[in-house]
């Protein structure tokens, strides 16, 4: 189904005298990811839940594709909106397949069509239908549950998805992978997504647009991630974004944006002498051993290469992190620093070597970024953060 615009028009939500969301207005264009980010108590989850009427606004309107949600039947409305939450909320008594089938079932789809859709979606989120369809949620890891959660939200092909800290409960490595997968999916699906997180790094990475909220449900800034990092609209935003804004901007670039360095590769048994000679002429004197399929096995130092005879895979040492072209420079840099190496190996989907990126290149990317001028055009400041 085609994506739709999502618009908040002067939306306020009060609990007694406490204001949870204060006169929120924002427009998410169709097919874009908008991240609501802010500290706890900023009303981001409340805002999200007003879209599918789990919470109803006290004032203002929320329009999906131009239609006011309050004018629609809540049950029908919810069946047309994908929903993913942190605890995933999989129904523990239903198998993975039947969890994914919930909304199509409620919509009255035919059995065969549902079965086909379930398998299609499990495949889409990287779970083999044959081995996952009949398992129960309790048998899955946290990351697998999140995938099922995403598959379930996509089941009836809703134009709009709500995601409330969807990757909050998984460890950082799995989170990064799930984030990348969601971005890859989004390239194909182009849903309108409202995404809630308290993690500014996640917001910068995931959002086409980022709405920074502050306590009391006040919108502090609504702009592209680059704009927010370069020109925080208020002290609050600047503090929330953090002192390492420059570093965070690395999240805006991906490995694919860098020019990959060629890697000198060799296979087990290749003659050593010519390789050694060629290697001495390069700036990066390491030889990358790959297996038959071109997948990296390990490094060989120039000095460890025999002067004659053949390259031996057994002499290879320490692997560098494998990066995909989609990895953000921030994640890539962090992985290189963790592994204490100067170069990462960029691989394709089949883990075949594409080239190398080095810490130096990333430092270069940082330098190239437009410096955030201290007195640059201060955009319209929506909030007085005094």
């Amino acid at each position: 189904m085609n994506a739709v615009d999502l618009e908040f028009r002067n939306v306020t939500r009060r609990y007694g005298t406490v204001v949870a969301v204060d006169d929120l207005s924002l427009l998410v264009p169709a097919g874009k990811i908008c991240v609501l980010v802010g500290p706890s108590g900023c009303g981001k989850t409340t805002s999200l839940k007003m879209v599918n009427r789990l919470i109803e606004p006290s004032e203002g309107q929320i329009l999906i594709g131009g239609r006011d949600v309050m004018a629609q039947d809540p049950i029908e409305l919810r069946r047309g909106i994908g929903y993913v939450i942190q605890q995933v909320g999989l129904l523990p008594h239903l198998s993975v397949g039947r969890n994914v089938a919930v909304v199509p079932g409620l919509l009255g789809w035919e059995g065969k069509r549902i079965d086909a859709r379930v398998d299609e979606l499990l495949g889409l989120v990287g779970l083999k239908p044959g081995s996952y369809r009949n398992r129960y949620p309790a048998e899955l890891s946290g990351g697998e549950r999140q995938r099922v959660g995403v598959a379930r939200a996509l089941a009836a092909d809703p134009p709009l998805m709500l995601m409330d800290e969807p990757f909050g409960a998984v460890d950082p490595i799995v989170r990064e992978r799930l984030q990348n997968e969601l971005l890859r999916l989004q390239e194909r699906l182009a849903k309108t997504i409202l995404f809630v997180t308290h993690d500014i790094d996640e917001a910068v990475k995931m959002g086409d647009l980022v709405a920074v909220l502050q306590v009391g449900g006040v919108l502090a800034q609504f702009a592209s991630p680059a704009e927010i990092l370069a020109h925080p609209a208020s002290d609050f935003v600047a503090r929330f974004v953090g002192a390492d804004r420059g570093l965070k901007r690395l999240s805006l670039s991906r490995v694919a944006d860098l020019e990959l360095l060629p890697a000198m590769t060799a296979r087990d048994g290749d003659p050593a002498a010519p390789l050694k000679q060629r290697l001495s002429a390069t700036a990066f004197p390491y030889l990358l051993l790959v297996d038959e399929d071109g997948r990296p096995v390990g490094w060989l130092d120039q000095d460890d290469l025999p002067g004659d005879g053949a390259v031996a895979a057994s002499a290879a040492v320490s692997m560098s992190p494998l990066l995909s072209r989609r990895t953000t420079l921030k994640d890539a840099l962090s992985q290189l620093l963790d592994a204490d190496v100067m170069a990462g190996i960029v691989v394709d989907e089949q883990e075949r070597v594409l080239g190398l990126v080095t810490v130096e290149q990333m430092a270069g990317a940082l330098r190239d970024q437009r410096p955030a001028a201290a007195f640059s055009d201060v955009k319209e400041v929506t909030v007085d953060d005094a």
Binding site: E76, R79, I85, Q86, P92, L106, Y136, A138
Partner: protein
């Protein structure tokens, strides 16, 4: 018991096979009716509580009060109203005793549904009624059946007491043995009553296993969810 007589006269059992089986069937009948009606009433009450939480205190209070009345006294109190030896007298008492356990377990089962599951169900577009029957009740099932098991075993024991008003199933055997100082029927009645309780308990356990395949993996992998 008379001197020199064996505890169990097998020949009496052989002669009275029909009577014994008749009593057993009656015992099963009394138990099933009591637990069945008790479950139906408790479900209705639990749904009222589900809708209006304030009812939980008073309703469970009433059930608890009924539960504390000694069974012999309750039979005696009911007899002038519903008649001596009538099945209604027996069942009113037996049903009353199941309510507390069943009501508490159904409510606890519904309360135990994780809030995120409840919210996700609503967010996907289950109506309140669909959510109750397709999500919350199934998830409450292990606790509900646990309640039914306790209620059933208790009722099998209590039915024997109903023998004092002539509705005791196997209790009649026990009582007649006591009255005539002839131990065989007492032993037969007690043994069959015990065996019946165990058999029903095991059947209910298997029923639960069959109905809640997900609960087994959940217990292993993620604790009680």
């Amino acid at each position: 018991m008379r001197e020199g007589e064996p505890l169990i006269q097998w020949e009496w059992i052989a002669r009275n096979g029909d009577q014994i089986i008749g009593r057993l069937v009656q015992h099963i009948g009394l138990t099933v009716i009591a637990v069945g009606f008790g479950l139906a009433i408790s479900l209705v009450l639990a749904l009222l509580i589900y809708r209006r939480r304030a009812l939980y205190g008073p309703l469970s209070g009433i059930a608890a009060t009924l539960y504390t009345i000694p069974s012999i006294a309750l039979f005696a109190i009911l007899t002038p109203i519903t008649g001596f030896g009538s099945i209604v007298t027996a069942e009113i008492a037996l049903i009353s005793y199941t309510l507390l356990i069943l009501l508490r377990n159904i409510v606890a089962g519904l309360d135990g549904v994780p809030p995120d599951v409840r919210e996700a169900a609503s967010a996907m577009g289950y109506s309140a009624w669909q959510r109750l029957w397709r999500v919350e009740m199934p998830l409450a099932l292990p606790l509900i059946i646990a309640g039914v098991r306790v209620a059933t075993v208790t009722t099998v024991g209590l039915v024997t007491v109903a023998a004092v008003i002539g509705q005791g199933g196997l209790g009649q055997l026990i009582l007649s043995g006591l009255r005539s100082f002839f131990t065989t029927p007492t032993y037969v009645g007690a043994f069959l009553s015990l065996a019946l309780a165990l058999a029903l308990d095991v059947s209910l356990l298997s029923l639960q296993r069959m109905l809640t395949p997900w609960a087994r993996v959940a217990n292993v992998a993620a604790g009680p969810r």
